[in-house]
Symmetry: C2
Subunit: 101 residues, 2 copies
């Protein structure tokens, strides 16, 4: 059970304002150290472009020998309230990377 | 034949540095004025986030009554030479929007 819980939580990488390489390392470590089969890269708004870069660099440069493919890319929108209490929309993206046998 | 040629070419919207609303209008007009069944939104590098915004705003705000879905999202990389003649990689994305019957 602990194993499942761990897998569910740790296979998601949220892209934010930290240095680019941190997220690449995060994705790579999921597939290597943690032996994950799937890793989901989540992003919103201005971090969407960075998320694609992370997926591509991790896959093509650091995991080139691991046979990782892009299983799916989902885009959507989320409503949230800004500081002024105004409801605004932000685009969201999920990139699902999968290790092939 | 002319009709086919027109459709093939004009169903692609390339996202660049013009104002956001220009691209939204471009996508919306494909589905309305041009009666397109599919529209492909192409982007590279820093314009990838903008492309997702264009797809989402066009679909949810301007085409809400048209039953447009995201058929597929593809990500990849492209090599190109910068001004100094150095080969660099850039992330690419294609969002395929489709009108459902």
């Amino acid at each position: 059970m602990t194993e499942n819980l761990k897998k569910t939580r740790e296979n998601i990488v949220f892209i934010g304002g930290k240095p680019f390489i941190n997220y690449v390392t995060g994705v790579v470590m999921q597939f290597t150290t943690n032996n994950a089969v799937k890793v989901i890269i989540k992003s919103r708004g201005k971090f969407i472009g960075k998320a694609v870069d992370v997926a591509e660099i991790a896959r093509r440069k650091f995991l080139a020998d691991k046979n990782i493919s892009v299983e799916d890319v989902k885009i959507g929108s989320e409503k949230f309230e800004n500081k002024e209490g105004k409801s605004i929309n932000v685009s969201t993206m999920e990139i699902i990377l999968k290790r092939n046998p």
